[in-house]
């Protein structure tokens, strides 16, 4: 049996079988959560996110860690990670971990390439807008988290959005802002402030990557991911109003941001217009009666995700790697079967 068998076939098994199976389990959980009457659809966003991303990230982390662990048989986690200068190396699981990591990287490249931030502009024409935005942010305590984080872009098709993974920044399109009143801008910035507080660009990127590395399971999860993102946007609208943003100016800003620029290629179907209408309807209702906080703001999502990832990485070193052995023997038996 050649040494490449397990690394190549094992990786194929993971992509074709293991990850789609986890996606199926996650889908069952998501369907149950989304159907839960208690609390409404804006509840449980954190748990739904963990299911969406964890179904890809956690098994991959476990498999990569188990591969490394088997390559250095019986060593503790830290030894496996940092002390590679040993002669007891078992190459096949190590190669498997390498090939799997390469496959994950290759599948992620498309998302990384598409993930592009806006370019900030600093011309004489934009100086006035920058001063206006600085004044709006300084005058509203709810926007304190945006101080020094609001930039202007001259990109004509860009309205308003948050970019940046660890230190998110809000970009405001100069053409878009020109037609907005101060109240509309303040309300729209209130919406973006919630994205900034929750590190949403990072969340969205991880979600995209988790779907990208599971090409045969993503079709199971994609509708749930789209629903999660739509609910997340509605959640940010609600949080903005709770923090003091005016609902009607926010609704106005959202409709104006949805208008296509003259020569822009459009990308959204009619069904997403339904979400837009719902968000506007919700804000019109908030103008009549202020909303109460319905759900946790998701501050615990990242610590929980980090702990789960750590457990997945350490588990093979503490409880064994039997599942990887099954994968290993399965790959070799399959090859033997077809080789005959």
């Amino acid at each position: 049996m050649i040494e490449a068998t397990f690394p190549l076939l094992g990786t194929a098994f993971v992509v074709l079988g293991v990850l789609p199976a986890f996606a199926l389990v996650a889908k069952a959980g998501l369907v149950l959560l989304e159907r839960q009457e208690l609390g409404g659809p804006l509840h449980g966003l954190g748990l739904r996110y963990v299911l969406l991303t964890g179904s890809s990230v956690l098994p991959l982390a476990w498999l990569l860690s188990a591969g490394l662990h088997q390559a250095e048989t019986g060593k503790s986690a830290l030894v496996c990670l940092f002390d590679h200068d040993r002669t007891e190396l078992c190459f096949e699981p190590g190669y498997f971990a390498l090939v799997l990591a390469a496959a994950v990287l290759a599948l992620s490249l498309g998302v990384m390439r598409k993930h592009r931030g806006a370019r900030s502009s600093s011309t004489a024409a934009t100086e006035a807008l920058i001063a206006r935005l600085t004044r709006i942010v300084a005058s509203d305590p709810a926007l304190a988290c945006l101080r020094g984080r609001v930039f202007v872009t001259d990109e004509t098709s860009f309205a308003l959005g948050t970019h940046g993974l660890l230190k998110p920044r809000v970009f405001v399109g100069s053409a878009f802002a020109a037609h907005l009143s101060d109240e509309m801008l303040a309300s729209a910035l209130g919406h973006e402030a919630e994205h900034v507080r929750a590190l949403d660009p990072l969340r969205y990127l991880i979600l995209q990557l988790a779907l990208a590395v599971n090409p045969f399971g993503r079709f199971l999860l994609e509708p749930h991911a789209v629903r999660w993102q739509a609910a997340r946007e509605a959640h940010c609208d609600r949080e903005a109003v709770i923090h003091g943003a005016a609902p009607l100016p926010l609704a106005d800003a959202i409709v104006r941001a949805a208008r296509p620029a003259a020569r822009e290629v459009v990308a959204l179907g009619a069904r997403d217009t339904t979400v837009l209408k719902f968000r506007i309807g919700m804000l019109l209702a908030f103008a009549e009666r202020a909303p109460a906080r319905c759900c946790p703001q998701g501050a615990s999502a990242f610590p929980v995700a980090f702990v789960l990832l750590l457990i997945a990485l350490l588990l093979p070193h503490r409880t064994g790697t039997a599942a990887l052995d099954v994968l290993h023997t399965g790959a070799e038996h399959t090859l033997t079967y077809f080789w005959r």
Partner: protein, 138 residues
Amino acid sequence: MTFRVRSGKKGLELRLHNLEATIMDVVWSKQLTSFVVGDVLAILEKQREIAYTTVMTTVTRLYEKGILERERDGKRYLYSPKLTRAEFMESTAREVLDEVVGGHQAIALLAEKVSEASADELDDLEALIQKRREELES
């Protein structure tokens, strides 16, 4: 309460038929906490020509859908809204989100651009916001 989301509609009409939406809009806007069919008819008659039986049938349908509740007051029924507008919109969220299947991206935008074909719909939404603003100001 479960409703089918009506595609191509906006605001209340996402879940209610036109006249149902109009009546609920009147009930919520005028803050009618307890009313009879005639109260709604009196307001609607200022805007359009409409028969008492049409309003009565629609109000009964709203009661059957669980949006209004009622109690007998002699020979007539006194109706009251079961939900506020905000609660109604919130309860619509699940049906709306169930409808969503389109693409998404890894960037947090205030709103994604919608196709030029929906420019009329965006105009309608702006008009709706303006109408609401005027109602609240008056």
